[in-house]
Structure formats: structure tokens, C-alpha cells
Symmetry: D2
């Protein structure tokens, strides 16, 4: 751990060159000029976070995950963005506040699930047998239940099942990117149901983000980025729609507030 | 202008359905299940903000713009994100703060330029003649100089020229998306140089975002989104790199601070 | 306007000294050690923003303004803070998002009113006659009406009148701090009513913040600080109350959302 | 844990009444009108967070803590605020981002220390003997060292000792508010030094916030508020100073950045 001055930075992400002759931006070893017009956004995001270019199949899966993550209607972060519009606050502040709303209970469970899966599958590669995954999954379920906690990545408030997970997994299968983490996540879903006497708690968007991202080679620490980046589009769209509706003071009506006496 | 309760929302962006039989997310009239695995992220972003799907050419240009916008090294917003990592703050808070750093001088000029272009080209379509664009551009330059202001979208601190603009415009030309706003922006660049006795102030990323987005049919109010969404990737990458460097207290060293007596 | 490196800072607010012998923090020319235990928070805030210590009377008025500004129930910024608590987001992120929610329509009107008053009263001191203030006020009302705008600082959504303004002005009168800006703000209130055939639009918290702060000698650019700092307490209190209520997913119920077809 | 609609809120903090006859804001059971002009800001903050009014002595100690926390020069959060000013971002966004910068390593250690002290002193009241506190403190030091962690609330980067802690504790002693948590914190400081062969790690601002706040009766969850609220003043002051300096693009100079090859 190092106390470091703001006058010393070190990065391998990008080099910005500006001298008499050269005006260059070099990203992960590539001239940006060579990437513009050649890469899609998903390929660029992959390059930024993994320092290598994805295959076409990997790109398709990442695009599927990002598309699945873009929008979820009048949901909490888009409501924050809409409120900001209503109060005459700027678009960047609104998008920023919507993004920073994601916390441990909302949007953060994919990272927790990803970390847990990485820790539990240490020493295994994609050749791991289903039986082994099942043994590990059963242990995970047991451990969480013993701590009276829910396995992260499954279940969704307000829905019976999250429609985004199965479709994204189908794309991963189609593209040959359904590997040990996706397999493990599916087996975990089964084990959770078994432990609940058959009542399923289907995988949610957090969960599918975790297993798909890990099978694409991403570090578990990056898992939240796919939601944050994708959902920023939603916050912008909702901000602009609310602004066009010209509301001025989003508020809770008095009759929705219960005032309890101070104790 | 309407004071509106938080108990009444109206949107045409997305409908989330969850009842006994149906679990559906409908975005801009499309089943999300039909979009996952079919659309790229750029196509989805286009759909979200314009309510229609782009052509392949439009998608290529939007991808080029997003790729050009993703990363600019140790720049102010990524530094904010890195500082947050150094202080043990969460990733979403870091990305949120980096995004909300964009203001009127940084990242906001594309919107200003876009709005100005829309207002100045009112009544013109893509058939407008170069001569007419030149007359309008000369007037714009005169007006801004009279107010002692700079035309937004041109020039960049720390660089002689912004290498991202010309390459993005090449892609727009290649894909047949170089229309009246791109043409106008190029002619404006010439008029600015003429007014400065030939000293060029090349178009920057803000500028190319504005003209390219308008020629793709986006509302000028959405122009900042391409930077905010794309750059969120940068903030995540820098946050994670700083975290891996395990710094703990980014600060300004005492000898970089000049303490002036209170007046 | 100066491009400035992050390696060069200049400040007259505080000097932090740490060398072998000395460990000192000097704020606006005072040793912090001499201020701790001697100043109240309001005196310290006054010193920070004006570089001088207030009189007892000025302190009482500033305290009154801050107390008036601390809390307004389940209002938009405290709702944002409560939502963050509900999503498992951190307290600092919640307070930060609540503060950054304040925009042009909410919390920003005091600054606009303050700036307008400073500009309109240029050349006048506290000896200005009521008649002159009335002439200027009538002109202000005329000018805003001509632009189809409301004079900032008057009226409040959801209330008939803002109960916080009259009480704070009483304190200013009691403490001898009711000077040209408070007088002007009261006369403006009268002129607004006259222009509306007697229907009053009473001064609100924004308005009283503006005139009281100016009469205390604050720059108009600081006016929003009294709300931001004071209200941060509210955001913390609401965050903690919501956290104690253990809610987990604040959301809008489906039946409060109207989905309109995309156009 | 309860999923709760945004159409149902419950609070005992404040009731806002606005009907034909009454315009009232009732805070923790008090009419706001009765508090304006009577309470100081610190008293109001105390009321908000503890639902009771403080004694004069308690108010003096809280004021001391807030004054100690207001400003620390060109420190990370004020730098973020100054950068925002430099980029043309709004004051509320700047203050908000400065506040949300506080994380686990910066500004969050007081809460951790407070929680630890509450847990370790369970079952003890202010009559606890010094010997007992010493036994518990020695165990705390042992436990943290075994986990290879530092006891939160002691030591400060860039300083030999934090000058704010001893002075604030003096005020607590003077006012008769130096009770079991302050005593415990002092004894902990001694035990830390003993475990390091006499090399002291003096209590810092986080530490003194924790023990002083607990001895004032605050819940450990509120400890960060004293820093967040107080420091918001600093962020405003630095924002306004930077804005007056008219900088336009705070950045890291190229020669302060080391570009390492992607691995």
C-alpha cells in the first residue's frame, strides 16, 4: 500500500502523445486511429478491460450481455435520473447519480457472485466435470444457508423470474462461450432449488453477468462495469424523456407519507 | 411545467411486465428477448435514443464515435476515478463522480455546438449548398468573435490538434453519413481559420460528436451521452488499475501548493 | 482563463504544515487549534467563506438561516438518500447524490435571486431609500414578466406559503442585520403581489437565503452553500432512518407507471 | 428486509403540514418556527440525529468537533471540488462529488473505530474502570495485529501527528464530556504504542470523531456525518476560490505520467 503523490501516475491503459510531429493516442498498444472505424464498442470495451481483442464469438456474447443490461423501465436508477431532470439538474450529474446509486443490494451482487465462483473453482479449468461442479455447488448452498444468507445472483424482487438471464445464456451457448462458470451457475441454480424443496430461484441479470463475464475471461472485479456502462444509456434516455415532459418538482405526496412520533 | 407526484410516471422507453404468465421487458416496442443476441450495443443505444433501429452504415459510424470517445489517458475524469480507488471508495461512486465531472468547459461543448448548428441550419436539409453553409458559418464566426467567445467544438488544451476528429469523419464519409452537419462543421473549421489569418483551430472530439450525431439523426440534447457512456469504460479501467497499484492516499505534495496570505 | 497543471495549486484558505517541529493547520490566518473550542460551526463557516470572523449578531442570523435550511421532510433530496440506503449504497454516496440533486429549479434559485439583487443594487449602499428600492423592484417585476419568467425566490410548490422565510427575517431584524438586500426582497414581494392584482407569492427559503446572506456580507456565489451544508444533515438522518427500516428495493409499483406507445 | 414501494414512506424526522390554515414544519416534535433564531446549527444537527436537544456542554463539544473537521487544505476532496470548478461543473455537483469521495480508507475509519468500540465495550457504562479498558484495549491491539490490520482511528499519512485530535479532546474534558469512549480511545493509543515498542501512532481526526461522538450519545452509524457536513464547507470554499482563479483544465502534465507497456 503506497501513499502516492498526484504528480506521479503510472498506467498501461493509454498513452497520449502530443509533440511537434506526433498527435497520437495509443490504447492498450494500439493506435486509436486504427481502432476507430474498425472496432465495435463492445470490442473496444473488451480491449480496455482485458488488454486483448475479442474473437467474433466473444464479441457477440458481450454485446448480448450489454444489450440485456441497458434498460429496465422506471427502475430506481432511472428514477433518480428523472428526478434530477425534474429539478433542473444537469444530464451528467443525473447519469452520475444514477450510476452511483448501485450498491450492495442493487447491481453489486454480480461482483459478489463472480468473486465467490472464482474462489470456489480455484484449481479447476473448463474441463471440470459436472459432478465436481455439483459437489461444489451443493457446498456453496449449504454454506450460505448456514450463514442465513442468499446466494447472490438468483431471484429478483417484483418478478417471478428474470427474463434476461436465459436468453443471454442461450447466446453464450450458441457462440461456444458457455464454459465452466456458466455451467457452474446453472448447476448452482439447480442446487438452490433442491435445497428449497424444488422451488426455483431463477438466475437474474447479476448472476448471468457474473458467469458470462468470467467465461469471457474478465476479472471478477470488472463485472459491475457491464451494468454501469450499459445502464448509463437508460439514465440518459429517461432524463431526456422526463425533461421533455417538463415536470418541475417530482415529490412524494403528503398522503403517501406516514409521520410517526419521535420516540 | 408540471409539478408531478412520484406516484405517477409515464414512459415510452420500456414496459416491464410481470404477471402470472408473462415475464417480459419491452423496449421501444421490441421484446428485449428478441434484441439480446441480435443487436450490438451501439444498435441498442441508437434504438434507446431514437426509437428506431439504425442501418448498418449508421451503426458503423456510431461505433466509430463511441470508440473514439472511450479513453483519453490520465485525464481529469479518469483521475477522479483513480483518486476514488485510492481512498477506498466504491467503483460505482468512482464512475459516477467521473461522469458528473463533465461540465460546461469539459465534455459539454459538443452539446452547445450541436444546439447552435441546429438553430443556424433551421429550414435547411441535406441538400443545402456549400455556399449557403459558408455564409452561415462566416456569420457564426463573426457572432462569436463579437461576443469575445470561442466557437464550441474546436481546439483542445494540451494538443496541437485532436487526432480523433479527422478519423471519425473519415468513417462518416466512408459510410455515407457525412451530411449537412458534418459539412457545416468542416466549413466552420475553415471559417475559423480564415478569421485567424490562417491559423487553424482543428475540430475536437466534442465537435465531431456534435456533427456526426446530428447527421445520424440524434437530437442535440443527446450529444453528451456518447461521451458519458463511452468514457464510463475508461473510468472503470483506471479505477481497477489504480486499485491494483494499491495506492492509498493520492494527494498533492506540500511543495506543489502555494499558500497565499488571506486578503 | 488558464490551463493549469495539477502540480500547481494556490490557496489562501488553509495552510497545512507538517515538518519535524511543527504540526499546524492554519485557516484564513488563524491557527486551527485556537479555533477549536472557541468558534461555533456557524462562525467557522463564516470565516471560511468571508475570511473574517462574524459578530455575535451575524452569527445568530447565520445560525437561523442554517437551522431553517436543515430539513424539509420526505423531499426530493432526502428521498434520493433514502433510495440509496434501500439499495445498499454507502452513506457518503447517498449524501453526495442528495446534494448534487440540487439544480436550477430546486435549490438554485437563491443564487439567481442573489445575483440579480447585486446587479440591480449596484451603486447603492444600506442608506438607499425605500422609494428607490421600490422603483428598482417594480422594474425587476416588469422585466421578468416581459420575459415570461418568474422572479426567483418567491413561491413554493405544494405550499401556500413557505413558513421558513418570515421567521428567519424576524431574526435578521432582531439582530440588526436587516439591511438593503432584505429590505429589497420584502419590497419585491410587494411589487410581485401588486403585479398580480394583490395575489401574493410569498418569499421562500431560496429567497430568504439570498437576501439574508447578502446582508451578512456573503458573495452571491456562496448562497447555495447554506442549503447544501445544512441539508446534508437531513440526508444523513433520512439515510439512517431508512436503513433502520431495512427496506431493500424502493421502487415504483407497476400500477403507477403509464406506458405510452413509442411514437 | 422489506421491498417497499416509493408510494409509502414513513418517518419520524419531520412532518410538513400545508393545508388551508396551517403551514408548519415539525422537526423531531418541535415547530421549526420555534427553533429558528433559538438553536445554533450544532444544536439542530444534534436534534436531527439524536431526537433530543443537547446541553450547552454537549453543544460546545459538537461545535469543536465540527470546527476541527471543516478544512484540511488542498486535500483530496477539496481537489476534486476544485477540478470540477476548473471544468465548468456546477457547485452542487462539486460538493456532492467531494463528499462521495470519502471511502473506506479516507473518512470512513471513524465509523469503523466507533463500531469496534461499541462492540468491545458492550455491557460497560461510564463507570468502567481504567484497568478494564486497558485489558480490552490490549486485546483489540492483539486482534488487529493478528489479522495484520491497523486499528482504525490512529495515524495519518503525510503528518507526524494529527494536530486536531488532542485539542478536541481537551474541549471534551473541559466540558465534562470525556467519558468511556474517549477514555478507551486514549488507552488504545497507549496500547498501540506499547505494541510498537514505544513508537506512537497518535489518534487522528477519524479517531477523535468516533470517541467524542459516542460519548455525546450518537449512534456509531452517524459518525461520518460530522466530517461530511463540516467538510462540505471546505469543498464550497475551494470550488469558489478555484473558480475565481479562472483555471480551465486542471490536468496531469505528460511528464508526470509513466506509460508502462501493456502486459
Amino acid at each position: 500500500m503506497a501513499t502516492r503523490s498526484m504528480s506521479r501516475w503510472e498506467t498501461s491503459i493509454a498513452e497520449v502523445v502530443s509533440d511537434g510531429d506526433r498527435e497520437e493516442i495509443i490504447i492498450r498498444g494500439h493506435q486509436l486511429d486504427d481502432l476507430i472505424g474498425k472496432l465495435s464498442f463492445a470490442e473496444m470495451m473488451f480491449l480496455m478491460l482485458q488488454s486483448r481483442l475479442p474473437t467474433a464469438a466473444e464479441t457477440h456474447v458481450l454485446d448480448a450481455l450489454l444489450v440485456a443490461s441497458v434498460e429496465h423501465g422506471i427502475a430506481p436508477p432511472s428514477m433518480v435520473a428523472r428526478c434530477y431532470a425534474s429539478y433542473g439538474t444537469s444530464l451528467p450529474a443525473a447519469v452520475g447519480a444514477g450510476i452511483s446509486a448501485f450498491g450492495d443490494k442493487m447491481g453489486g451482487l454480480g461482483e459478489q457472485m463472480g468473486r465467490m465462483m472464482v474462489e470456489r473453482l480455484v484449481g479447476h479449468n473448463d474441463d471440470v466435470a459436472d459432478d465436481d461442479l455439483q459437489t461444489i455447488a451443493a457446498q456453496v448452498v449449504t454454506d450460505y444457508r448456514r450463514n442465513n444468507e442468499r446466494v447472490p445472483g438468483y431471484g429478483i424482487p417484483l418478478h417471478n423470474k428474470d427474463p434476461r438471464a436465459p436468453r443471454t445464456l442461450e447466446v453464450a451457448i450458441r457462440e461456444g462461450c458457455f464454459k465452466r462458470y456458466c455451467r457452474f451457475a446453472m448447476i448452482l441454480e439447480q442446487e438452490i432449488a433442491i435445497a428449497r424443496d424444488g422451488r426455483a430461484v431463477p438466475m437474474n441479470l447479476d448472476g448471468v453477468s457474473a458467469c458470462v463475464a468470467l467465461d469471457l475471461g474478465f476479472d471478477w472485479r470488472t463485472i459491475r462495469m457491464f451494468l454501469l456502462t450499459a445502464r448509463s444509456v437508460s439514465m440518459g434516455a429517461h432524463y431526456l424523456e422526463e425533461q421533455a415532459q417538463d415536470t418541475t418538482w417530482r415529490h412524494a405526496k403528503a398522503d403517501t407519507i406516514l409521520y410517526s412520533e419521535p420516540t
